[in-house]
């Protein structure tokens, strides 16, 4: 894990809502623009994440978070589970930090 990424995982996301997905297994860095979901960016990069409802209801796309703080927008996880910040639903949730590190 680079120092740059660790820094980004604690720095807050900018006002434009753009953030970076840092994929720790594949080593990829993907930028999520304001008008796209994390899931769309992952799919465009050829990373297969199972999904179904696309609106934070079913939990199919649940992905492990290893750094940074997700901005949970789903209705699947309980409040307690959301507060743990160790998983998120990339179909609708975003990031509160400039970088979100995923176990992908």
């Amino acid at each position: 894990m680079s120092d740059h990424m660790n820094e980004g995982a604690s720095a807050p996301v900018g006002p434009d809502g753009v953030f970076t997905l840092s994929l720790v297994k594949s080593g990829k860095q993907l930028q999520v623009p304001a008008d796209q979901t994390a899931l769309q960016v992952l799919e465009s990069a050829g990373i297969d994440v199972p999904m179904s409802c696309g609106q934070g209801i079913c939990g199919t796309c649940l992905t492990r978070v290893v750094g940074g703080v997700p901005d949970h927008r789903d209705m699947y996880l309980s409040g307690e589970e959301q507060d743990a910040n160790d998983q998120f639903t990339p179909c609708c949730s975003r990031s509160k930090t400039a970088v979100l590190m995923l176990d992908l």
């Binding site: 609106q55 934070g56 209801i57 079913c58 939990g59 789903d74 209705m75 699947y76």
Partner: protein
Amino acid sequence: MFIKNAWYVAATAAEVQDKPLGRTICGEPMVLYRGEANKVAALEDFCPHRGAPLSLGKVCNGKLVCGYHGLEMGCDGKTVSMPGQRVRGFPAIRSFAAVERYGFIWVWPGDVAEADESKLPVFEFFDNPQWAYGGGLYHIQCNYKLMIDNLMDLTHETYVHSNSIGQKEIDEVPCTTKVEGDHVVTSRFMENIEAPPFWKMALRHNNLADDVPVDRWQICHFTPPSHVMIEVGVAHAGKGGYDAPDESKVYSMVVDFITPETETSILYFWGMARKFQPQNAELTDAIREGQGKIFAEDLDMLERQQRNLTRYPDRALLMLNIDAGGVQSRRVIERLLTQENNGVAA
């Protein structure tokens, strides 16, 4: 176009027991069922999961369970549970106000926030030991206003029901129509005539001679959204007619709850409440059977009439003196529809 903010009969209480029932009321597909404590509920007939009709499901412990994948629906339209799923984010489906009264399930197909039980019509003849009631349901492929026309102009009895309640004098005696607010009344009083077969039968059941001249009356009451109550009866001639003492007459109320299903179909809850021999269950059955046969005679006429009107939607129709009751009832409906669509509370 239907008046949506009003109570309609959606089913008889007997039709909604342990299984859900699918019904379309004023263009709204609904599932009717009994939830907790046997309380009736009406929801959109649409599972939020895959759009399956919930009416194909079943009721378990007061919960409606979808017959496709087991989604368990609450009577507020919110999903309670589903096997293997977290349901918190499931979108709610629409719930409708529903009330059980007088042996019927009434629903309010419009804005649930406007639904008001105090606006349910009040009838003295239901839940009253002095009266007996029997009735049935016909599903008819015609617009609800054609049924209102039919019931607010009984001259058709002479032709459609010639063997039971029709007689030439209906044609020969003019009717009068008056409007009191939303209430339209068309009356016809015939004096010193022979009773038609149905009323001869009723006279005999009430231990009255059936071979003497009678005075006969028909008073049709339309009230919104689409209920027609008809006071009918005969009295031995010269005893005061409509106002004759009970021992000289037989009379009853023809009950018609006309519930629009689509623009070209209705659920027609017909029946008769009578104030003679109320404890005689055999008589109730006999009248129900007789009335059912008589009212079935209207079905073909109404459905073929609807097909003609569908084929020629722009063709102008005649509105004659005998049609005043239907015309005035339609005017009340139009006025209330305009009010409802302009956001004015009824």
